[in-house]
């Protein structure tokens, strides 16, 4: 009787558990080009998707991508909805308290301000994505912070005049500034924040962390990581 009861969801879900192998579920945001985004066909694309697939191949893991909103990306890792976060997430001491990180696969990158005019006052209203390094930085800088759930909206806020400037990752901003035909521009100084970008992994998952660390090291050593970085972020990128 008990067993029948517990079998119902299993039957419903197609005996999914029968072949439990080494499938790793990779959580990403899908809204943060060039790191990760959804292409025209509705599939995930971007630097981290290529990187993640390569890392999985090197670690001999089967990987499955999962899209998740940024706000809840850490809680859902912790509660086991997926096993890694690979979403342009900077390694910070604060996050490290809740989850673990692999070694970084990108060196610390500058964050920058983008505004609609040159003479904007950077102590005014600055937009940033919720729960990011940049939001934390603005909150402490004395400017007025307005937060948005998606990176998209932080840019719109500037175009729409909601915010005086947006403060975000330089690599995310660069293609947007380029495409704006001069409507948007970099202003102020760049600031380097965080300890580089790494994969988030549950604190208890030490084995998985080791596997990925090893894979990242191997990509660093044979230069394939550098090649990938340059391909996606241009020659100016800091390489290993």
């Amino acid at each position: 009787m008990r067993n029948i009861f517990f079998m119902i969801p299993v039957i419903l879900l197609g005996y999914s558990t029968a072949f439990a192998g080494d499938t790793i579920r990779m959580g990403t945001e899908g809204a943060y080009p060039p790191y990760n985004y959804i292409d025209d066909d509705g599939n995930l694309a971007g630097f981290e998707i290529i990187l993640g697939n390569e890392l999985c191949a090197r670690a001999n893991l089967t990987c499955e991508w999962v899209k998740n909103d940024w706000d809840s990306i850490i809680p859902n890792l912790v509660s086991g909805n997926y096993d890694t976060i690979i979403a342009g997430m900077s390694i910070t001491a604060e996050r490290d308290k809740v989850i673990d990180f692999t070694q970084n696969y990108m060196l610390p990158r500058p964050s920058a301000y983008v505004a609609a005019s040159e003479d904007v006052d950077l102590s005014g209203v600055i937009s940033a994505q919720t729960a990011t390094l940049q939001a934390g930085y603005i909150a402490e800088s004395g400017s007025t912070l307005i937060e948005f759930a998606t990176p998209d909206e932080t840019i719109s806020a500037v175009s729409d005049g909601e915010a005086d400037a947006v403060f975000a990752d330089y690599d995310y901003l660069a293609p947007i500034v380029e495409a704006s035909n001069g409507d948007l521009m970099f202003v102020g100084d760049q600031v380097v924040l965080g300890l580089g970008t790494g994969m988030g992994i549950r604190e208890s998952d030490t084995e998985l962390k080791a596997k990925f660390n090893q894979a990242i090291t191997s990509m660093k050593e044979d230069g394939s990581l550098n090649k990938l970085l340059i391909e996606w972020f241009g020659e100016g990128i800091l390489t290993y």
Binding site: L13, S16, D41, T62, S79, G80, S156
Partner: protein, 292 residues
Amino acid sequence: MIFDCSSPDQLDRLMWSLCYLSNGKHITFYYSILKVLVLLALAAPISIGLGLFLAILAKSDISPLKLLGKFIILIVRGIPDIAWFMFFVIALDQGLEWVRHITLCPDWTEPIRQGADFLVCEKAKLPGNSSSETIHEIYGFILAIVTFSIIFGAFAGNIFYGALEAVPKDQIETAEAYGLNPRQIFWRISFKQMWIYALPGLSNLWMILIKATPLLFLLGIEDIVYWARELGGAKTPRFTEYPHGDWRLWYFLFLLIFYLTLTKLSEKVLDKLTRKLTYGMGFSGENFLQRQ
């Protein structure tokens, strides 16, 4: 694709729009609209079934069952929906996994909770890690339907309970006078007459259910709101064949029209149903609705 969309930047406006609206990303958007309709189509009958069950429990002569029925209705209605959406799904998911964990992996010695982490053995995971993302999405969607059904089932239960109470006492007394036993009275008289008293409440609940569907995003499901925001947001040419400015206004206008149509259609159908049900029952539909 049906059209030749290989180089969108060279297409004329109409073809461009057709190609744009039929690209893979938009198909997922249409698919999310379908999700809303499927949710409605499944959650409504399940809620009604659950509501009937709860109302029958609450009307039972056996006092523990009666209390149980009333208690469930009260609890679910007393807790704000938002709380249900935020916590219930996680609790349900983890509860299922926990139960499977103790049955499927009895040898597991490590604690399930390690700090903030919730860890069950590989076999106990729902769905399993190796199942495809589609299975995971279906599982999430089933959880969403369950959540909606429980919330709306309790509300429906309350409506049915009230409707059963609203069946005139003399109709029941007459049945008693003619020797019908309590069972027969319940099923042949109260239960059948109850529908007409429940209908206004149920119509209302259906409208609320329609308007609650955008809350799917709270359950981590990529719903129409997610895709409207994603598709509407400005796109730079580097990452898409179809760059455009901020079109979110138009996507949300579309959603407004979608919901308005759904409401209007429902209104028409429910009106017809009311008229049919109230036929000969002594209240013309409109008068009746106003009496409520």
